[in-house]
């Protein structure tokens, strides 16, 4: 399918899916960028900022696809929407920990590793499916993103496995982080209210199939590092795909867009 051959109902579903893909990467890239200068060591600072930059690029690709579909300019889509228009999963907007980037950042590295690793596994599964998307521009974008995502997944898998088999304190903190992420990770694994139309048009695989792939992979990794599988991930604070969000998203978008919003007419 191309822009010209989409039926109206398919177009609506595709737009919803693109917002999910874009906003997921956008918000997690932002949370990643807040670690700049604060990561556990300098090599990680270099790696994490590179990953965040890539992910911002991935969000940008999706926002450009939305622009092509008549949703307005990519920069405006990214910066000027109100929080209820965002479609990212709630767990991805969550702050890195107490404090702010500038003042007493008591950020939680275990939480960051777990969230990013779980997300990278899902992103890989999602891209693998999107590479065969019926919407050609999306399949092309997924192809491109996959070549970069490969390194991200490898990076987070190393961190995850090493910390899970490290000191008692590391294991304790990682276990707490898994429990915390688990409460809301179900939000990443859903395609939201337009799920049926999205799947019917073959834009992406059925969410249940992808969820199963994710569960199988995570269950195997947890087993490998000697941890137990906590059962299906939940969606305790609501579904971000429906526009349900927390105060953390407000903080994120206002910080992100502070400069842009001062003069959206300027060329950036």
């Amino acid at each position: 399918m191309t822009q010209e051959t989409l039926k109206p109902q398919e177009k609506k579903a595709l737009i919803e899916l693109l917002y999910q893909l874009a906003d997921d990467d956008f918000l997690l890239a932002f949370r990643g960028s807040e670690w700049l200068g604060l990561a556990p060591h300098i090599e990680e600072d270099v790696a994490f900022s590179s990953i965040s930059q890539d992910m911002m690029g991935h969000a940008n690709l999706y926002y450009n696809l939305l622009e092509d579909l008549g949703e307005g300019e990519a920069d405006r889509i990214a910066h000027l929407r109100s929080p209820d228009q965002f479609r990212n999963a709630i767990i991805l907007e969550e702050v890195n920990g107490p404090g702010t980037y500038l003042k007493e950042p008591d950020y939680d590295w275990a939480f960051t590793v777990v969230r990013n690793y779980f997300y990278a596994v899902h992103k890989h599964i999602r891209l693998d499916s999107l590479r065969h998307s019926s919407y050609e521009p999306l399949a092309e974008a997924a192809h491109k993103i996959m070549t970069e995502q490969y390194y991200h997944l490898m990076h987070w898998e190393i961190w995850f496995k090493q910390l899970m088999t490290s000191t008692d304190e590391a294991i304790l903190r990682m276990t707490a982080a898994i429990q915390k992420v688990w409460k809301d990770f179900g939000g990443v694994l859903t395609l939201g209210p337009y799920y049926e139309d999205i799947v019917k048009a073959n834009f992406i695989d059925d969410e249940n199939v992808m969820k199963k792939r994710w569960n199988n992979k995570i269950e195997a990794v947890l087993k490998e590092v000697g941890a137990s599988y906590p059962g299906e991930p939940r969606m305790e604070r609501g579904n971000g795909r429906n526009g349900v969000h927390t105060e953390d998203l407000k903080q994120a978008t206002s910080t992100l867009s502070e400069v842009y919003a001062t003069n959206p007419a300027t060329g950036w």
């Binding site: 090599e43 690029g57 991935h58 092309e140 192809h143 491109k144 390194y151 990076h155």
Partner: protein, 159 residues
Amino acid sequence: MTESVMDALGDVKDPEIASVSILDLGMVHEVDVTDGAVKVSVLPTFSGCPALHIIERDIKKVVENVEGITSAEVKFVFTPSWTTDRITPEGRERLKEFGISPPPANHVMGEPWEIDCPYCGSTYVTMENIFGPTACRSILYCKSCKNPFEAMKPVADMG
């Protein structure tokens, strides 16, 4: 005419690696010249690469300076995907001159890749960080000549 445009594109350097051009990197996909109007389709290396706007500007500048050309348009496309096997043999040599070890030409993702020190050619090197100062590079250290150096990450199409 197409030939002069291609010549001009050889002057567009990677803003972050001054020794290689976008032709060396295999970023130019198609050049279409119709009645003095040029359309250049370019394959971005990494999707978050902040240099893309600069590259676009530089292409327009050099192409519009070619005699007989009235306008130039740049389009970034993703098919085919840019992969590191598109880097030309000259591009590989120029990367080395800049102190960057070029990626292997036929890399299979998932397999380890052999990296030689761009200064002394030794294979006795260690990977310090798979990520580097830009998205496309890694940081290594040569245990033979004791130089830190960078390598371009292999990027292969994953099917």
